[in-house]
C-alpha cells in the first residue's frame, strides 16, 4: 500500500490537494494511506517552503500549488 503525505498547515489548497488524491486513488482502485502533515517543523524537514507539498513513499514529488490531474494519477498508479 502506498503511503502519501500532504504537507501543509491547513490552507485551502492543502485540503483540495488531499481530496484530489483520495478521488484519484478511488478511481484507479488503488488503496492508499493518506496522511496530512500539519506540523511546520516536519514540513520544513522535507525542504518544502511552498505548500502544499506531496510526499509519496517518503519521497518528495511536488511542492507549491494544487497538483494537476495527470501528476496525481501518476502517484497513485503502481
Amino acid at each position: 500500500m502506498k503511503n502519501i503525505k500532504v504537507l501543509g498547515t491547513g490552507c485551502r489548497n492543502c485540503e483540495i490537494t488531499a481530496n484530489v488524491i483520495v478521488a484519484a486513488a478511488r478511481q484507479a482502485g488503488v488503496e492508499i494511506e493518506l496522511e496530512k502533515i500539519t506540523d511546520i517543523a516536519e514540513i520544513m524537514g522535507y525542504g518544502v517552503m511552498s505548500t502544499p507539498g506531496v510526499v509519496v513513499d517518503g519521497k518528495l514529488v511536488h511542492s507549491g500549488g494544487v497538483p494537476g490531474p495527470d501528476q496525481v494519477r501518476g502517484w497513485v498508479a503502481d
Binding site: 498547515t9 490552507c11 511546520i40 525542504g47 517552503m49 511552498s50 511542492s63 507549491g64 500549488g65 494537476g68
Partner: protein, 317 residues
C-alpha cells in the same frame, strides 16, 4: 475596445444615461471588469509560460550567504517578482531564518512581496498609465529596502519564537519540471486558474468600490477635501487601509476612481500601499513565528513609511 464595449452594454443595451450617477458607476464597473480580467488572464498565462514565477525555495537559494546589501537587493527584487500566497509566509520566514539570512533582509522580502508583483504592475500600466505604475513600483521598492533596514536596527532576533531557531530544514530534491511546450501550457493554465481563483473576489470588490466612488462621490467635494492641501489626508488614508484588505490588483480600480476625481497622487499611493501591504489578517499569520512586539513594530514602520511616501509625492506634485 473596452470603452466601446462598455458604451454598448451600458448606454445602449441597458439604456442608462451617461450623465447620471448610476450610468457613470455601471459604465466604470463594466469597463474595469472586462479590462482587468482580460489583462489578468493574459499576464498570468504569459508569465506561466516563461516560468517567471519563482518559487520561495529558489529565492532562498539566491539570497543565502550573500553580503547584506546584495542579499537585500535580491530579496526586494525577487519579492516583487513572486506573488506568493500569504499562507506560505510562515514557512518562508522559517526557511529564510534557517538559511542564516538576516531578519532585516527577510522583512524587506515580506514587505515587497504583497505590495508589488508583476501582474499588478502590468495592470497598473494598463489602467493608470506607466508613469503612475513606475511611481508605485519605485516607491514600493524603496519602502521595502529601508523598512527592512529599520527593522534590523531594532534587533528583532529577540522577538523570534524559540522553536523557529531549532527547525532543521531538509534538502528538497524536486523532480525537474516538464519543459516541453505542452507542459508549459498546462502549467500556465493551472497558474491562471489558481491565481484568478484566489484573487477574483478582491478584484471585483475593488472595482465595485471604485465604481461607486466614480459614480456617486461629487468631484467638487473631493477636490476641496482630498486634493492634497491638508496634511492629515495622507495618514488618514494609511489608517483607513489597515483594517481594509485587498490584494495589490484589487486596489487598482479604487485608485483609478480616486485619481480621476482629483484625489492627490500621494494620498492615493499611500492608501494603495496600506491596503495591499499592511493588513491585520496577514500580520496575524506571522504571529506564529514572531512575538507581538515585532508585529507592532513592523506595522508601525510600514505606516510611517507609507505616510512619508504620500507626503513626498503630494509635495512634488
Amino acid at each position: 475596445m473596452f470603452e466601446s464595449f462598455a458604451n454598448l452594454i451600458v448606454y445602449q443595451a441597458l439604456g442608462l444615461d451617461p450623465a447620471s450617477h448610476l450610468g457613470a458607476a455601471v459604465h466604470f464597473f463594466v469597463m474595469d471588469v472586462t479590462k482587468i480580467f482580460a489583462l489578468l488572464v493574459i499576464v498570468i498565462y504569459v508569465m506561466g509560460l516563461l516560468r517567471a514565477l519563482l518559487s520561495p525555495e529558489r529565492v532562498r537559494e539566491f539570497v543565502r550567504g550573500r553580503p547584506d546589501w546584495q542579499a537585500r537587493g535580491f530579496a526586494v527584487t525577487l519579492g516583487a517578482l513572486t506573488p506568493f500566497c500569504s499562507c506560505s509566509s510562515v514557512p518562508l520566514f522559517i526557511g529564510f531564518v534557517e538559511a542564516g539570512i538576516p531578519l532585516g533582509v527577510t522583512f524587506s522580502f515580506l514587505i515587497a512581496s504583497p505590495m508589488i508583483n508583476e501582474v499588478a504592475a502590468v495592470i497598473l500600466v494598463g489602467i493608470l498609465g506607466w508613469k503612475l505604475a513606475a511611481l508605485y513600483v519605485g516607491a514600493g521598492l524603496l519602502v521595502a529596502w529601508f523598512g527592512g533596514i529599520v527593522m534590523q536596527s531594532f534587533k528583532p532576533e529577540r522577538w523570534v519564537e524559540d522553536y523557529v531557531w531549532k527547525i532543521q530544514m531538509g534538502q528538497a530534491d524536486l523532480p525537474q519540471p516538464d519543459r516541453s511546450f505542452a507542459g508549459r501550457h498546462r502549467y500556465a493554465v493551472a497558474e491562471v486558474k489558481e491565481i484568478v481563483g484566489r484573487i477574483w473576489k478582491w478584484v471585483l470588490l475593488g472595482i465595485g468600490v471604485g465604481a461607486l466612488f466614480h459614480g456617486f462621490v461629487p468631484g467638487q467635494w473631493v477636490s476641496e477635501n482630498l486634493g492634497g492641501d491638508a496634511w492629515y489626508t495622507v495618514p488618514a488614508a494609511v489608517l483607513m487601509g489597515i483594517p481594509l484588505y485587498s490584494n495589490a490588483t484589487g486596489v487598482i480600480p479604487v485608485a483609478e476612481a480616486m485619481l480621476t476625481k482629483g484625489v492627490a497622487v500621494g494620498t492615493t499611493l499611500a492608501l494603495m500601499m496600506s491596503v495591499a501591504a499592511l493588513s491585520l489578517p496577514e500580520m496575524l499569520i506571522l504571529r506564529k513565528v514572531i512575538k507581538w512586539q515585532a508585529l507592532a513594530l513592523f506595522a508601525g514602520v510600514l505606516a510611517i513609511a507609507f505616510t512619508l511616501v504620500g507626503w513626498g509625492f503630494n509635495a512634488i506634485a
